[in-house]
């Protein structure tokens, strides 16, 4: 009854159940927190070109260039947040596609890192290709900052910031080197 095997078995079972209970508590303690805060954004330079897209179908698609600034304070960390994944989305509508969403920039912030963000005149990290030619003169392109919370254990919510910025693309293509 008290052999090494039964003792080892009991210890292992107890360890596993305690770990499972702790993980569950970790998840349950942060499941109802509201992670929304404000962010302010602004675009500085906005141009659009029409060039062949060699990474896709080699047809000529619209390529938007823009620089932006935004300011954001991140006080969303708690014991169940391992990492925040911030991403800036441009959302717009064209005649060919009813809904287009393009991520222009993203950043990973780990727990413990400095979380105050104040960028001015930043270039986008990814190319702003459109699927077609719908960017020229597009009257309403909305920039939204969102973040994805990666917990230590639990749900993976994606939350939008309370603050958006809409801008329009110029009605002419630029031929300048940008």
């Amino acid at each position: 009854m008290h052999s090494v095997l039964t003792r080892g078995n009991a210890i292992l079972a107890y360890t596993l159940s305690v770990l499972a209970a702790l993980t569950f508590c970790c998840f349950v303690s942060t499941v109802f927190i509201d992670y929304r805060t404000k962010a302010t954004m602004n675009t500085v330079k906005v141009v659009v070109k029409n060039v062949p897209d060699y990474s896709a179908s080699r047809e000529k698609n619209d390529l938007g260039f823009l620089t932006f600034d935004f300011k954001h304070l991140t006080h969303l960390f708690n014991w169940n947040v391992k990492q925040l994944f911030l991403y800036l989305t441009a959302e717009y509508s064209t005649p060919t596609n009813k809904l287009n969403q393009v991520v222009l920039w993203d950043k990973i912030i780990l727990r413990g890192e400095n979380a105050i963000l104040d960028f001015k005149n930043m270039n986008t990290k990814y190319y702003f290709w459109d699927d077609g030619n719908g960017l020229k003169g597009n009257p309403n392109v909305t920039l939204t900052l969102s973040w994805n919370i990666i917990p230590n254990a639990g749900l993976l919510p994606s939350i939008f910031a309370l603050g958006q910025h809409a801008f329009r693309f110029p009605t002419e293509y630029t031929t300048s080197r940008v």
């Binding site: 749900l155 993976l156 994606s158």
Partner: protein
């Protein structure tokens, strides 16, 4: 210790032995029922996946467990973590949606990229495929549990370990009188 186990087996008559086999069958079939039930509830063909590569670090490491859902009423949006399978290959890939273009009739095409990769996933798709569609998606990651999936990875990489574990479990259930 093995001698006492064998004595137990010899003392069991045919009826008790059949009873043991039946309880073993019950365990196996209830596990299968839970799995299939999860598949129905989440709408995904594989509601729990193990992260196999390090392409989403530092968010997900190899061996983490992800819970997926695949509801039709919740369309895929940019920034979400999706698990997809490329046609012709069986390994599920866990990456984040970077670009999305949706038409009015509901057809959607999107591009993904792993957080730890520097380029998007076009190199991973089937030759000639530039975008992912809804039917490639196995599900969207909704919940996360660290380290638990390492057991599956060990069992896949060291098949002898898997057979040894299964044999021990089978022997234990058949011989133990409960």
């Amino acid at each position: 210790m093995f001698q006492s186990l064998f004595d137990d087996v010899k003392r069991m008559n045919k009826r008790q032995f059949l009873y043991q086999v039946l309880s073993f069958g019950m365990i196996v079939s209830s596990a299968l029922m839970i799995w299939k039930g999860l598949m129905v509830v989440t709408g995904s063909e594989s509601p729990i996946v193990v992260v196999l590569s390090g392409s989403m670090e530092p968010a997900f490491h190899r061996g983490d467990l992800l819970f997926l859902t695949n509801y039709k009423e919740e369309p895929v949006r940019v920034g979400e973590i999706v698990v997809f399978k490329v046609e012709g290959r069986d390994i599920p890939i866990v990456h984040r949606v970077l670009k999305l273009h949706e038409k009015g009739n509901g057809t959607v095409k999107f591009l993904t990229k792993g957080d730890n990769n520097s380029v998007d996933d076009r190199g991973l798709y089937a030759p000639g495929q530039l975008w992912l569609t809804k039917k490639d998606v196995v599900g969207r990651a909704r919940g996360f549990l660290p380290y638990v999936g390492m057991v599956t990875i060990y069992m896949n990489e060291y098949p002898k370990f898997k057979y040894a574990v299964l044999a021990c479990l089978g022997l234990y259930v058949l011989v133990h009188r409960e």
